[in-house]
Amino acid sequence: MKLPLSWVKEFVNLPAKITAEQISQAFTRVGFEVESIEYQGQDLKGPLVVGKVLSIEELTEHKKPIRYVGLDVGSGKKRFVICGARNFKVNDLVVVAIPGAVLPGNFVISSRQTYGKLSDGMICSAKELGISEEHAGIIVLPEGKIGCDAIKLLEITDVIFDIAVNPDRGYAMSIRGLARELAGSLKCKFIDPAELVKNSKLKSLNSAKAITVKIEDKTGADQIFIRTVENVNAKRQTPIWMQRRIEKCGMRSISLAVDITNYVMLELGQPLHAFDAAVINGGLKVSRANKFTKLTTLDKVERKLQPDNLVICDSNSVLALAGTMGGLASEVTHETKRIALEAAHFNPSSVAKNSRFHKLSSEASRRIERNTDPALTEIASGRAAALLIELADAKYVGSSSAGIAIKKRKVKISIESISKLIGKSYSIKQVRDALLLIGCKVMGKGAVLNIEVPTWRPDLESSADFAEEIARLTGYEVIPLTLPVGKAGAKLSDMQIRRRQVATSLANQGFTEVINYPFVSQELIDLLGFTGDRAKSFRLLNPMSEDAPLLRTHLIPGLLTTLGRNLSRGAKDLAIFEIGTVFRNTAKTIKGQSPETNKRPSAKTIQEIFASVPKQMLFVAGVVSGEKLKSTWQGEGSKFDWSDAVSKVIEIITATGNNFEIANCELAPWHPGRCAEFKVDGKVVAHAGEIHPRVLAELNLPERSCAFAVILSELPVSKVIKPSKILSMPAVVQDVALVVESHVSASELEHSLKIGAGDLLESINLFDRYDRIGAGKISLAFTLTFRASDRTLTSDEVAKYRDQAIEQAKKDVGAVPRV
């Protein structure tokens, strides 16, 4: 809401020396953030005078038509200026900058030769004066004395505050509301503009001829006031003072009748609408659109109505989208003679629905959505009628209203409960004063006050609502500081500790953490070859970009994109990882629950709400590319390969205290021959290996880049570790080299050897692999280390165990000792 200082001053007795900065701080202190302060006219210097157009000479020999204009600026001598605008005629009053004047942007006006003529000044547009964005033509004044100071006439010099009004404070979307807040913050006298309106002066000519009104849908409005005036001279121009105030508040001057409704809305906060009464058939009704399906609104858009749209209609058609925008058919024009002024207290959520459905947010709807003061319907409509009488020669016909009597809400407030919530004890006087400032009537002098809540504060309901008013008006800065301490035994959960350990360990091993957006495209999912659950993604209704409307089902797509970005910026050797949530649309969509919030939902409903949210797994994944050991003066480095990705998974699973099984597997986006699948307790929890060469080629990423992914949230929490006794007897080592078919995996062979070697086998380590034997065979060589708890093993005994191991391997996988 834009607030001109000149306007607010009418209702607040401000100290003479107060600065704009101090006013801004006063607003901030009570919860109204001043987003900007505009000093209008600060960089404007006269002379700027009212001039009358005496003659217009059209100069046609130039690229665009130019006028050479003779002006009477009150100096007795005709002054000639060149002007490019065309929106004026002889006898019009215009604003003339006399040489020596300086316009905003340090634009100095001087006499100068141009278009072959001497131009002795300039006729100004509103934009050139810095008072609005209007630059379609020059200002044509509705009134003004020739030669008088236009800076004063146009009330240019002013300070305009742009104030953010929070959604619970609809009343502050007005000069009235903001003036009250400013007065409350500065503890100055406040004059309520609503109390200055004297509707008793409106004498009805013939009430029987006034347009009537009914509320057909009581959920849509509880107050409506229609005032009818006739004999309107709609051709009259809006006086300068009114135009200027409307412009300063960021709106445009349109026509006198519309300007009056907007002016009253800005001043009091009550949106008004002016109908051409001649168009109304029968009386007006507040109702739902129901059978009516169409309305062309003032912006000339034909709108398809929903049956539940709240509208104002007559017996034939819809005349306005209630509280949102009027209809074109009943628009007040220059020909209009009879006007019906509407002021209503609409249901905020009905108007919010209108506005949202039609994507039409107006000055009126913004106020009504935040709730308006029901008592204003009568006052504001009267004020607007009086202005039509005063400024457009109208005659008052009479009024019609509908709705329920406005309730004076009464509440009891315990000062103790307020002090208890804030943590500071407030005196009765402090509480009374604060409540009076916001317009409450306060009765009683004890610890419990009886309060009559003002009609413009529907937000004040609970004790906490009043506590906020008292706390903010006495200042948040006086509230003390205390530090409560929670429960003993607070700590991270096992999963939180795991997450930290995994991240820190990867970072210590040269991996860099990244946090990617979880938005992906179908193209990328297809390119990576995801199928099954990993291709079942959720789609956003309103994505940031149509290029990436899906939620990620896996971390690898984002990591590959980030890998590419780093490479494009010159990085060569990269190891990056991410820990994050993935979203898989694998369960049947359950209809979401929306229970009432006035009590705790039933246990069943709570379970249903929790169950309606899909399970979201936590992954850790990484990609590597380039050298893991850098080539330096010391020699060649070594490159990342599939085994680095696989061993990273082994480290992660082992670090969580879990055992795993590993096997080759074929799974996109990995290389079909270079992908490991890991199972813990029979459940697949991780994959690792080289990325499919086709994927790398299509994404323009380096060959042999590798990746791993572990479902952190699926790894069981480890049981308490029970280490075996450390044996101090000497170990005896035996090497075996075995030949097997090349499809036999190292882990299968190792498994057999372990079983065959018996309980005294302490460890087994693959130290050689030879694949050039031919005939589809390979050789794998292991070191077996044996140790007993109670004796030094003899070589004969160990040789026996070794032979048993070989025997087992022969039986299981057809291994034969290499000779």
Partner: protein, 338 residues
């Protein structure tokens, strides 16, 4: 062979002087043969002791023994001296340029948001708070309705929400971590002391200060006699822990549907007031929707953007650096630099 003390002394002198003049191990070896070997004058003199009578044998024996031990000692010292000289020389030839050494493995690092989250979690654990988490894809009821943000309230459009297809599923990407507060209150009984860090979403275009995917940390306390003064004290402690003891905090009246009274919390840091987050006393309507006994308990809540906190604390001027995943950014924070 007759023994002559003068001769023995001469032999001793000559031995000591040769040892003293020895410059290397080769001559030392010769000196050892000449003066300590079996055929050395002193050894021979010793060997001839047997031919002396008892008295002379004792007298000469002592004299010769003395001389020989002097030679032995001189030899031992010389050996040590030469060895030490040799060691110095050898180690000198093994000198390297230590500035050649550089890590050959990659430099890793945690994302600073992770580091900040850990720091905040630890500081609140110290105050007796647990760290609560919840899903990012969340039920609309938990994200809005339960927080006193009804469907048609303008506050609902304050936050540009990402909705999931189909609308009937009533699923959104959570716009704040507040649904975690609701989940906590629905599943636990007061006293409740939790912080809720996590990823949040709002449909804002990425620019220097905004990102559609960001992180928040929220705090929730529900206990007997919780006051706004408690909120102020907690936020001041929080701010000082993160930004240093010189930082000042202030509350400014504001509006959030889920708190009443509500406030913005500002910090005075590096010479200016900066908006840091939102806070307030938990709105009774929220407590009631979660079944908390409002006659017995009150609560406060607060929430901050972690990206914003990071930017203010470290003087980061462009959000792109935080979200783009350029490894140079995270690497500058290592695994936990302040």
């Amino acid at each position: 062979m007759a023994l002559d003390k003068n001769q023995i002394e001469l032999d001793l002198k000559s031995a000591l002087s040769e040892i003293a003049n020895t410059k290397n191990f080769d001559s030392l070896k010769q000196v050892k043969i000449d003066h300590l070997g079996d055929k050395s004058p002193l050894a021979r003199a010793n060997q001839s002791l047997g031919s002396l009578d008892a008295k002379d044998r004792s007298d000469f024996g002592k004299f010769i023994g003395d001389a020989r031990s002097q030679v032995n000692e001189a030899f031992r010292k010389k050996t040590e001296e030469l060895e030490s000289e040799r060691d110095v020389q050898v180690l000198q030839t093994e000198r390297v340029d230590v500035t050649l050494a550089k890590p050959r493995t990659l430099e890793g690092g945690l994302h600073p948001l992770t580091i900040l989250t850990n720091e905040i979690s630890d500081l609140f654990i110290g105050l007796g708070y647990n760290v609560a988490e919840g899903p990012e894809l969340e039920s609309e009821w938990l994200n809005f309705d339960a927080l006193n943000i009804p469907a048609d309230h303008p506050a609902r459009s304050m936050q540009d929400t990402f909705f999931i297809e189909p609308l009937e599923a009533k699923l959104v990407l959570r716009t704040h971590t507040s649904p975690v507060q609701i989940r906590t209150m629905l599943t636990q009984k007061p006293p409740i002391y939790v912080i809720c860090p996590g990823k949040t979403y709002r449909a804002d275009e990425l620019d220097a200060t905004h990102t559609p995917v960001f992180h928040q940390v929220e705090g929730l306390v529900v206990d007997e006699n919780i006051t706004m003064a408690d909120l102020k004290g907690t936020l001041d402690y929080f701010a000082k822990s993160i930004f240093g003891n010189d930082v000042k905090t202030r509350l400014r009246p504001s509006f959030f549907p889920f708190t009443e009274p509500s406030a913005e919390v500002d910090i005075f840091f590096n010479g200016r007031w900066i908006e840091w987050g939102g806070c307030g006393m938990v709105n009774e309507k929220v407590l009631i929707a979660c079944g908390v006994d409002v006659k017995k308990f009150s609560g406060f809540a607060f929430g901050m953007g972690l990206e914003r906190t990071l930017m203010v604390k470290h003087g980061i001027t462009d959000m792109h650096d935080i979200v783009e995943g350029d490894v140079r950014f995270s690497q500058s924070f290592g695994v936990g630099k302040k």
